[in-house]
């Protein structure tokens, strides 16, 4: 449980950080809260020779809204997400999800940027960002580019992020006021990654669903945006038969690992149950 040797860098601007990444290529890794990276280094599953601590870059903090888009800068901690009035009002599902991540100590240092950039299918924020149709701002030597969360994840720990890029912000379209939402997570204990979890965002028009978005956590080697399930729900009245077929569509795209949380079959079923429960709560909230 002791990491190998590495050189520690603490740049004070994004440009400087990118420059360090460029000069060391694959040997360098950004460090945010360190609560995914350091454990992997201690297990020697990761052995970066250069750690580029983003903690000294003031520019990477903050939450703002502009023209229907909420921007959360990468180094915003999960604790700060929970405390944000803006998010509580406009995007309450972020607080609900953050409160289900790890424990308070980890949330004080774990960041949104690190959580979504990490590429661990166990992390909760990536599926949520897919559900919210967020995009990530990636800053490299050639400037910024934006990648949709739904396109970002390739496999476990493999993402669209290039080695010399930093994820600097997450942009989320502000959902309409009165939307329904819920994040349901099944876990073995506080501090555990999900056995299965589901994020649901819903808008209702009278008795029927105007728009629906469903995404799943930790039931494949990437987060899953459940496009078919979302489509099936849209336009429906959330009658039992429709919900059942949407759940089946969501279960169909899962491909979980069998591990201490349970065999694959169980985790697939739990993804369905979590989705069903999230849907019920989201629908409740949307109507009220």
């Amino acid at each position: 449980m002791i990491p190998g040797e590495f050189t520690y860098h603490r740049p004070s601007s994004v440009a400087e950080a990118v420059a360090i990444l460029v000069s060391h290529g694959d040997e360098a890794r950004p460090l945010s809260g360190g609560h995914s990276l350091i454990p992997m280094m201690k297990l020697r599953m990761a052995a970066p020779e250069h750690l580029v601590d983003l903690g000294g870059i003031a520019d990477l903090k903050g939450i703002s809204e502009d023209g229907g888009t909420i921007t959360i800068r990468a180094m915003t901690t999960q604790h700060e997400l929970i405390g944000s009035d803006l998010l509580a009002e406009k995007l309450p599902i972020i607080k609900e999800t953050s409160l289900l991540i790890a424990d308070p100590q980890i949330r004080y240092v774990g960041t949104l940027g690190g959580n979504v950039a990490n590429g661990d299918p166990g992390n909760d924020m990536p599926a949520l960002m897919q559900c919210l149709n967020a995009s990530y701002v990636l800053t490299g030597p050639d400037g910024d580019r934006e990648v949709a969360a739904r396109d970002f994840y390739e496999a476990a720990y493999f993402t669209a992020l290039a080695p010399e890029e930093i994820l600097t912000a997450v942009k989320i379209p502000t959902p309409p006021a009165g939307h329904g939402y819920a994040y349901e997570k099944l876990k073995r204990k506080v501090g555990d990654y999900a056995t299965a979890a589901a994020a649901v965002l819903l808008t209702m028009n009278g008795g029927s669903v105007a728009s629906a978005s469903v995404a799943l956590t930790n039931v494949a080697d990437t987060p899953l945006y459940a496009a078919d399930a979302s489509n099936i729900l849209t336009g429906s009245t959330l009658d039992d038969a429709t919900v059942a077929s949407a759940v089946a569509a969501a279960e169909a795209i899962t491909d979980p690992a069998s591990d201490g949380r349970g065999p694959a079959e169980y985790r697939t079923k739990m993804a369905g149950i979590m989705m069903q429960r999230a849907l019920a709560r989201a629908a409740d909230r949307a109507r009220s």
Binding site: M1, G4, E5, R188, K189, T195, D259, G260, Y266
Partner: protein
């Protein structure tokens, strides 16, 4: 007497003696982060040891090359089995009569087995060097399933035992067989089964888990080559035994070995035995001449340093139609891993598993235990348990529920019908124990009344109906557990460790000013001995507990004792303390008589001193007597006021309790929520009710963890899974149920203060309560037995198999 004279009650209260909810004195330092643990120790010139471990569960080692590792600056040495052979320490004896590799000698028997010991100037260098030690392995077929251990074509795990047909406990039947242990009357039992109206037969497994103390195992060994003296600081539940073993193994005379156990962060049986890390550190210090520290990490601790349980218990009960039990037959297949490293008293290969008749009056019983080798880590330690009592309690408590189901009787009523009755004590059990005392009916009735047992059953019935009508997806389970423990090992007639009888000891020294230092052969790992031992002395000799310092763990100063595990401290050392204190009080009485110029027979004890019978104003306090003992002792009497006592208990003590668990289960996710948990404990005389409550809370939390998910798993190729706190279930305050505690008091008739042990009762009694609750919940759907651990997916699986998912 003037108004300022304290009343008798006030003087008594000032002592904070037995029965007082005295706050734990050790917590002053623990809560401030000022405890001194092994890893806090820093000695000049100290270096660090760390292990190269095997990635394979079963393999031949064809080469170990440390050349590259030794090139790293700061790497001092890399020890292998070949080096240890030079000092005859490549293998070490286990407490169970087996031998165990210290470092892999030609082969490895389990994943993460210790292969080489790297010694370096700091931990970081050691870890870097580990990556560079080049070990070549040749994989061998892996044996994981204990039920296949004795197949004719099973791989040979222990070529060192080739041709050995006699083990430490009798004949071996197979190359992977360790021992067979039989107790009871086979013919009588067979007769009971032949004549039975009803029988049950179930294979009840107690899975492999781990004590996982917060502080892992660690030590610092320091050899002074000039003086020829070895000092070892370590996480030792039994420091004196470690000293004796170290002397026998190293041939350093015992008086030149100083073993010191400083503060210990939990033991739970994990810190009784000797581990390769201790041996390698000692050898490395002898080789290098500087102190060597070894601290294992969490994964090393969980995956290699002593598992617990792994008992597979085929259990049969014979009974009459009215529910009276007539016979018990148990066969245990015990998975010991690669070596038999159980830390039981030497003559007991399966510990005290023969307490398996539990709280019930079985006229006939027969038990047979077979120990086998597999490619798993060694251990089989008593995880908060008196040597396999936990397994036994789980076995009988689960089986009684299964019998109740078959008889269509209420499980509480079935137990009550078969309890050993209060007037049967001392009670001779069919498997050889003499239960010292008990009042099971009273305890059970109190528990059932308090929890509202009959009402809960009615509620459960209504919920089952609602479930069947499709109105709810939640079901309810009520877990009943009535356990009897056997603790306080133990009487020299049947308990020893490597030949040393399992007595314990206390030394008490009263200083001239009336304060006290006392030392024992036990060693607290969190049990609060510094608090409770002082309370016993306070009551016995009338000196306030706050004026009594308790010190344990230093073999140079403490009298020899066998240490703390198996709930033995209060039954054994607790008795020694009371008896040593009484020696002091006897001498004090003679001194007081001299001071008051009366015969000692004219004096009577009064809380904190002696008074003349019929003239209470003529009295001498212990404080005055202590001064006199050093200032002006009676003529012909030795000065001073101190005593030592070594106590060989005449019998074990038999704590018992009634536990009830009320659980709600979400059938669709398998998530179980404990709605209520009620624990009534009878541990005889209660020394400190608050500490008892704390012990019960802690033990119940462990029981909850074990029953509901805590497990060391192996896949079919021998990889150890879940050996980190990400998977190994340690509940937090959020998951832990609320505990309701209660008690009755049935003092032990043979113990000087009537006390029994309590620290392990909640683990012993808690596990069956949880497991029975889960099993009970599914009974109406046709369930007989669901194996532990009951984590969510397994409960879900059980629900699915029973057709509960539609």
């Amino acid at each position: 007497m003037n108004d300022m004279t304290p009343t008798r009650e006030q003087r008594e209260a000032a002592l904070e003696g037995m029965g007082c909810k005295r706050k734990r004195v050790e917590d002053v330092r623990f809560t401030q982060g000022k405890g001194q643990y092994v890893d806090d120790l820093k000695l000049p010139g100290m270096v660090f040891g760390d292990f190269v471990r095997s990635p394979y569960p079963h393999a031949k080692i064809t080469k170990i090359d440390a050349t590259e590792a030794l090139k790293i600056p700061g790497v001092i040495a890399v020890l292998t089995a070949e080096d240890l052979k030079g000092v005859n320490l490549a293998w070490m004896p286990t407490l169970a009569g087996d031998v165990q590799m210290v470092l892999a000698d030609g082969k490895v028997l389990y994943q993460n087995q210790e292969v080489a010991f790297v010694v370096a100037e700091d931990r970081y260098i050691a870890d870097d060097a580990i990556q560079l030690v080049d070990v070549e392995y040749e994989e061998l077929p892996v044996l994981v399933d204990p039920f296949k251990s004795m197949d004719p074509d099973a791989p040979v795990l222990r070529p060192d035992l080739d041709g050995k047909t006699e083990g430490a406990h009798g004949p071996r039947k197979h190359h992977n067989h360790i021992f067979n242990w039989e107790v009871g009357d086979k013919d009588e039992t067979a007769k009971a089964f032949a004549e039975a109206d009803v029988t049950i037969n179930e294979m009840i497994s107690y899975h492999r888990t781990h004590p996982s103390p917060l502080e892992t195992c660690q030590c610092v060994a320091s050899m002074d080559k000039v003086k020829g003296e070895l000092t070892v600081w370590g996480t030792f539940q039994a420091p004196h035994v470690i000293r004796t073993v170290a002397s026998l193994l190293s041939t350093i005379p015992e008086h030149k070995i100083h073993v010191i156990a400083p503060d210990i962060g939990g033991g739970f049986g994990n810190k009784v035995g000797a581990y390769p890390g201790y041996i390698c550190s000692i050898v490395a210090s002898i080789v290098t001449g500087v102190p060597v520290k070894w601290v294992e990490d969490r994964m090393e601790n969980l995956s290699t340093t002593s598992f617990a349980r792994d008992y597979h218990m085929t259990t049969e009960i014979a009974a009459r139609n009215d529910g009276t039990v007539t016979g018990l037959k148990v066969h245990v297949l015990a998975d010991h891993g690669g070596f038999d490293a159980c830390a039981d008293p030497s003559k007991w290969p399966a510990g005290f598993f023969n307490i398996v008749t539990g709280s019930y009056d079985f006229p006939a019983a027969h038990l047979s235990v077979d120990g086998v080798y597999t490619n798993k880590a060694p251990g089989g330690v008593a995880y908060r348990c008196s040597f396999r009592v936990t397994e036994a309690a789980y076995c009988i408590e689960r089986a009684m529920d299964i019998l109740a189901q078959k008889l269509e009787m209420d499980p509480a009523d079935l137990r009550i019908k078969n309890f050993v009755k209060a007037d049967q004590f001392p009670y001779q059990s069919a498997l050889g124990w003499e239960y010292d005392s008990g009042d099971y009916h009273t305890a059970m009735q109190k528990a059932m009344d308090t929890i509202g047992y009959r009402e809960l059953r009615a509620e459960q019935k209504a919920k089952q109906e609602a479930f069947k009508r499709g109105e709810t997806r939640e079901i309810m389970g009520i877990g009943v557990s009535f356990f009897t423990e056997i603790v306080g090992a133990g009487p020299s007639k049947n308990c020893d460790i490597l030949g040393v009888a399992m007595f314990d000891s206390a030394e008490i020294r009263v200083h001239p000013t009336g304060s006290v230092i006392s030392r024992m052969g036990t060693k607290s790992q969190g049990q609060g001995h510094e608090t409770t031992w002082a309370q016993i002395i306070a009551t016995e000799i009338g000196i306030p507990a706050d004026d009594i310092m308790v010190e344990e763990g230093n073999t140079d100063t403490a009298p020899y004792g066998l240490g703390t595990y198996g709930s033995r401290s209060t039954p054994v050392a607790g008795a020694a303390i009371a008896l040593a204190a009484r020696k002091i009080r006897n001498k004090a009485q003679m001194i007081a008589a001299h001071m008051l110029e009366v015969s000692e027979y004219d004096l009577e004890w009064d809380v904190d001193g002696f008074q003349v019978k019929g003239n209470p104003e003529a009295r001498k306090s212990m404080k005055e007597i202590a001064w006199a003992a050093y200032h002006a002792p009676p003529p012909n009497m030795e000065p001073g006021l101190e005593a030592v006592s070594y106590y060989d208990p005449p019998n074990m003590t038999y704590p018992f309790g009634a536990y009830f668990c009320v659980m709600d289960i979400d059938v669709d996710t398998g998530v179980a929520t404990t709605r209520r948990f009620y624990a009534l404990d009878d541990c005889g005389t209660r020394i400190n009710p608050m500490i008892i409550e704390g012990q019960v809370h802690g033990g119940l939390t462990e029981a909850f963890a074990i029953a509901m998910g805590q497990e060391i798993r192996y896949d079919e190729t021998g990889n150890v899974l879940g050996a980190s706190f990400m998977d190994f279930f340690i509940p937090t305050a959020v998951e832990t149920p609320h505990w309701e505690t209660d008690h009755t008091v049935t003092p032990s008739p043979h113990h000087p203060i009537g006390a029994k042990g309590v620290g392990e009762s909640p683990n012993v009694g808690g596990v069956p309560a949880f497991s029975n609750a889960v099993n009970d919940a599914f009974q109406f759907l046709g369930n007989t037995h669901i194996q532990m651990p009951h984590d969510a997916w397994r409960i879900w699986q059980a629900a699915k198999d029973l057709g509960a998912h539609g």
